[in-house]
Amino acid sequence: MSDVLANIRSRLAEEVSIAPLVTVRILFGFMMFAGALRFMLKGWVEQLYIEPRYFFTFYGFDWVQPLAGNGMWFVFIAMAIMALFIAIGLFFRFSSIAFFLLFTYVELLDVSNYLNHYYFISIFSLLMALMPAGRRFSVDVALRPQMARSSIPFWTIGALRVQLGMVYFFAGVAKLNADWLFRAQPLQTWFVPFTQLPTIGKAFEWKLTAFLFSWGGAIYDLSIPFLLAFRKTLPFAYLAVVGFHVITGFMFPIGMFPWVMIVLTWLFFPIDVHEKIVSRLERLFKFRSPVSVSWNPKLTNFLAYCLAVHLLIQMILPFRYLLYPGHLFWTEQGFRFSWRVMLMEKAASAQFYVSDPETGRVWDIHNPHYLTPVQEKQMSSQPDLLLQYASILENEFRSIGVMDPVVTADVFVALNGRRSRRYIDNKLDLSEVNDGFAHKDWIIDYEDL
């Protein structure tokens, strides 16, 4: 046993070429540049961060607020520039930290824009910032050759691979539920738009197709990290990665995510492949390959332990939902930050009411007065957002002179092709409920789910 541990230890500490960090840095940088550019060109800066009157904040992060005026444009322009800097390795330490901060800032602004792959980018950009990815084949090194490093301990690459592998693995674990495996839901529902495609449309009407995609997806997610990890299975696994992401990328509106994953899973290729690529690039751009210097700052051990703790937390987070009673898909308590991607179809509607106990007057709330369509959609099925909306309404009505507004709501939610059901206690004054990590017992149980 101790032999095994010692083996792992020495493997992790083994000095390997820095090349994988360099290739991933370049690919990641250009991808993020494209992503920021796409976001701006789509008009989303305006739509998601300037136009909304209100923003739904993450618990404990309500102090994170969007910048006024054109401030958000500057954030995105800066983000794009930092991504380019990362790619070319200019002021890498600064640009990588700045990119992480800017990106994470934007993601913290509005829960209704939460996507697992944005969360992934935040984590990955932080990990990159901690590593010496700018110390070879970079502008930094061209300017200050003494910065160049040729080797790194293997655990740096290992940590990135584990992080990447976990995204797939936990996405696979999440698919191991009755709806996904035995009702082929939500895929059966999501296939409806494809049934009219020429030639292949008919196949999307078959139950078999939905079941194949459901089971295939689960098997793919659970096995791909391991298949990528072994040299023998790697080429075929990478082919599967490309195929899987290209297909899902065309089928579903998942933006940059497929392309980011296709590019980052390169990280699993053998180190000598990366070394060859980087050496060739160096020759092409007339860079001197670095003399043999290893990266060994004083904090290496500390950093290694930090990463170990980080990865451990990452492995525990997806299971925190077990601490809550009720069905995870219904209550969504412990749903986020767990790689539950493309997992359920929820359709909800929420009619809020504000009443003034002093006068007995009641107002019906017209959600579009306060929220964007995306915000309304997200708010209607997520309990913590229902609470935040109640407090938005409470403040709105206080400001027009209702001293103690009572906020109630008729919320109906439909899950994975079932009929909709009442979601929360419609007598409860939501403005009196405080959000927190405790179980929200005002969600009505879905017993036979």
Partner: protein, 366 residues
């Protein structure tokens, strides 16, 4: 994995083969449904509207030529027929129903109308083409043909004969009906070419015929619920009823028009044609998709039942609804509650089952 890809390939290769029924989730002919909608619902309804507003325009011309109480009565009757025909067309503001990117509804039926603006338009001889939407369309004609509360037919006729602005008023009224006639004819003609585009535009993604139809159905239903009931009931102002905000306030036929609209919406949902035919509709699509299978009732049937409940509740409301709002508010409230119960089914369950995005806002998912 290799096996998985292999099976997928096989599945796609054998696409032309027909699988047995229980192997198929739902085999639905979208194109047949769209053809039914175009041929038996949309085009006949726009034809009725076109005929209705043309007759109204003729009756108004006759009235303006000889402004008598009997000619006024003729004009009023034609107004009702045209307004009722409009109620069945209001969910179709796509394709030819969009005029320079704006829904035809805006200039047909923006209510409550602004009588101050109408009077100033009349006295300043403002052209209808230059008048704001709050002073044109059916609501403006409603005001001009029926006059304010307590006015007799003779009082109204006097405004077109002896009043200082009589000739300007006649001119404004004539332009109002002419505008509606021209637009309705334009939309009806537009459908003769748009029809094929519409029926061929299969799928349910944003921009497809079904997506437009479902979005419009929802929008029109929201209009019925919010503008015709919630606002007059005082749902947005803390409970003070606003009788003068109802549709057709001067003519006093709000409940009747609401009933027409609700019947129109139900028939779209069921796929019922204007000639009484019952062919493929959204109801049939939902039956095919079996949404809610395993629950107490299929979504398709629950929605059909709820439409019936709404129509029954509307039939209970006596006109003029502006008076019923004051004398018997609970009866109006009940109709609103029945509509409210349809909202989750129509807006979220049905659109989710069909893969249609409501109020489409472009964004990524994961």
């Amino acid at each position: 994995m290799r096996k998985f890809l292999f099976i997928i390939t096989i599945a796609l290769v054998f696409v032309s083969c027909n699988a047995p029924d229980d192997m198929v989730h739902c085999d639905f002919d979208q194109q047949a449904m769209l053809t039914n909608y175009a041929d038996n619902v949309i085009v006949p309804r726009f034809n009725d509207l076109q005929v209705g507003v043309t007759l109204m325009d003729g009756a108004v011309q006759a009235f303006c030529a000889t402004p008598t109480t009997s000619m006024l009565m003729e004009a009023r009757i034609s107004f009702w027929a045209a307004y009722e025909a409009y109620q069945k067309c209001s969910p179709f503001s796509f394709g030819p129903g969009l005029i320079n990117g704006v829904s035809f509804r805006e200039r047909f039926n923006t209510f409550p109308t602004n009588t101050t603006t109408i009077e100033s338009n009349v006295s300043n001889a403002t052209m209808v083409s230059a008048a704001p939407k709050s002073s044109v369309g059916f609501p403006a004609i409603d005001y001009l043909l029926f006059g304010t509360q307590g006015m007799t037919e003779e009082d109204v006729v006097a405004l077109y004969t002896t009043d200082v602005n009589a000739s300007a008023r006649r001119a404004y009224l004539l332009q109002l009906t002419a505008e509606l006639k021209q637009t309705a004819q334009g939309i009806h003609n537009g459908w003769s070419t748009y029809q094929n585009t519409f029926t061929a535009n299969v799928g349910t993604a944003d921009g497809t015929a079904i997506s437009m139809l479902v979005n419009e159905l929802n929008f029109d239903f929201e209009t019925l619920k919010n503008f015709k009931f919630k606002i007059p009931l005082g749902k947005y102002n803390g409970g003070t009823v606003i009788p003068e905000s109802v549709e057709a306030f001067y003519a006093g036929g709000s409940a009747r028009l609401a009933l027409d609209q609700a019947n129109g919406l139900r028939n779209i949902y069921l796929g019922m044609g204007e000639n009484g035919s019952d062919d493929l509709g959204l109801y049939d699509y939902l039956v095919c998709l079996k949404t809610g299978e395993g629950d107490d009732q299929l979504l398709a049937d629950a929605m059909a039942d709820q439409f019936t409940a709404i129509i029954n509740a509307l039939e209970n409301i006596p006109d003029p609804m502006s008076e019923t709002l004051v004398s018997n508010k609970p009866i109006v409230d009940d109709a609103y509650l029945q509509m409210q119960m349809l909202t989750p089914m129509m807006k979220s369950e049905m659109s989710s089952a069909l893969g249609v995005q409501i109020n489409y806002q472009d964004n990524d998912g994961d």
